[in-house]
Amino acid sequence: MKQALIVFAKELSDGLRDRRTLLRILIPAVLMGPLLLAALSSLIASFEERAERREIMAVGMANAPTLKNFIERQTYTIKDAPADYEARLRATTLLEPVLVVPADFEAKLLAGEAPTVEVVGDSANQRASGGIGAIKGLLWGFNNERAALNLAMRGVSVELLKPIDIEERDLASVQARATRITSIIPMFIIMAVLYGALTAALDSTAGERERGSLEPLLMNPAPHGAIVAGKWGAVALLGMAVALLASISFVPAQWLLKSDSLQAMFQFGMQEVLAFWLLQIPLAAGLSGLLMALAIRSKTFKEAQAGSTLVITAVSLAPMVTLLNPGGDAPWYLWVPGLAQNTLMLAVLKGEGLRWAQVMPSVVVGVVLTVATLYYVARSMRAAVAR
């Protein structure tokens, strides 16, 4: 036990002295998430701003005084679209859809011939297509009003046009709505654990082998189990440290949020940071062991890096499973490292309380993975130097 602590202390100070590597890990881990969150929030803010502005862009509105009157009664202002609106929509320099009114609109309308108006957007231009719904809504309103007037003049009840009433009821809590945007956060935390543990795991196994210091280390009268345990402790702690910094970095990120409503919905305080961090413990433990087990068989750092690519890809893509499987969370999610943490962190973000039964599987998997991989590393170490 004492020897494990000695190895742990040495590995930790050795890892922390590697400033350049640490900095290169920390910069993406701490900055990337908040910056992406801020960028997404400014996109949402621009949507909200447009909704508040109540403006639509149109061509040939002078041909349709009736429609113009209706739109203005809905407190919208009408702007003239630029002449080259089609080209600009394609080039994504124009970010709003355009309503195109034909020259014979008014005449056809009076004759009851249903004139055709066009709503021009570009489905490759995300922001422009986002505004199409609003214009369509206005046009449906106009249709309804005309139809209601026509029926009323003929003495038919307007109710006939509405055999059913539609009302929307949103079940999502305020926080749950915000998770649509903030669901990217857990992915960054998981990556932070991975990157924090990765270099330390490789350096303490394959790196040690490459520089020829593993053989002298094993010539000390210390049980291999103690050496491995000490190394693993340092690796897991570094992973946890980077994860903590990454989750704390989302706290100031809230102040960067441009959208007021998003800011109100996104609650990320110290309590969430702590919950996130505690949830990472089984992942950091298991992953550190796994990375060390993969690396101990490699003769060089480079070889070990190639070997760990599979783990990195698998763990970082795990959150994607939730996107590809929209049928809701399956129970087995909680048993897969990475995916389990993602699911649990999303629950925390939604403001749901975690039940012990939800957390238990990931803890069990973490413990089993740690014990199995460390046993393997301890056994392989001698074989590694004997070759």
Partner: protein
């Protein structure tokens, strides 16, 4: 006291092979009957050409792998049965002696001292003491990054000696050292075997005749994985009937080549 009796070791090595074809396995008999008895207060040299099996023998002594056959003991402790106890009685400078580049020489030395069960102060004091013995005070508190070959070797040697072991095992310790450093090392080893230095049992392997002639009380000639002769330098000269030690070594180690 180190006893190595008739040890054997064979490895399976892959041959070249092609792009899609794996190389055939080939059995390499690295060691096939080496016997070394090294007494306390004496320097015993393992002399042999490259690939004679010196390093493999010493690695078995260090417990890195078990011999296929034979008996290895250090101060009566059988290495195979109680490797940790045997290791505690040996200071080994092996073929691989990498340092931790981000730790200073002192930290490198003290780390191993701590793993040998010394407390931090004792390990530190011992580092100072060894730095004096090996004339490396100037680099003691520098990080090992950027050490010269000789500085690295000295640090590794100090690291192996940190727990003041009764038995010292060195695998080609003068590799890459210049004349002055070699001399300093020789002096240090002579002192360590003397009664004031602790009367250590020192085993070291080399392929350099000069070192053996100047330093060793006892020489074991190893050739093709076998120990073919042992005795003091004059005894070996007499055995071979030669004046120069180099001629004696060649005659003893490679009788077929000499006859041809």
């Amino acid at each position: 006291m180190i006893e190595i009796q008739d040890v054997h070791k064979q490895f399976v090595a892959a041959t070249g092979g092609g792009l899609f074809k794996r190389g055939k396995k080939r059995v390499v008999h690295a060691v096939q009957g080496v016997t070394v008895t090294a007494a306390d207060g004496r320097i015993t040299g393992l002399l042999g050409a490259n690939g004679a099996g010196k390093t493999t023998t010493l690695r078995m002594l260090a417990g890195l792998f078990a011999p296929d056959r034979g008996h290895i003991a250090c101060d009566g402790i059988v290495v195979k049965d109680a490797p940790l106890k045997a290791l505690a009685r040996m200071g080994i400078l092996g073929d691989a002696h990498g340092l931790y580049p981000r730790l200073s020489a002192r930290e490198n030395i003290a780390y191993f001292g701590r793993l040998h069960g010394m407390d931090p102060d004792a390990a530190n004091a011992r580092a100072d003491e060894l730095a004096r013995l090996l004339e490396m005070q100037a680099i003691l508190d520098r990080r090992a990054e950027g050490f010269s070959q000789g500085e690295r070797m000295k640090t590794a040697l100090a690291r192996a000696l940190v727990h003041d072991p009764a038995n010292i095992v060195l695998d080609e310790p003068t590799n890459g050292l210049d004349v002055l450093a070699t001399r300093a090392l020789r002096e240090a080893l002579r002192w360590l075997k003397s009664p004031e230095g602790g009367g250590k049992c020192i085993v070291f392997s080399t392929h350099i005749m000069q070192e053996v002639e100047q330093l060793c009380d006892e020489v074991v000639v190893v050739s093709h994985g076998r120990s073919v002769a042992h005795g003091s330098v004059p005894a070996l000269l007499e055995l071979a009937g030669e004046q120069r030690f180099e001629d004696a070594f060649v005659k003893l180690a490679f009788p077929q080549e000499v006859a041809a």
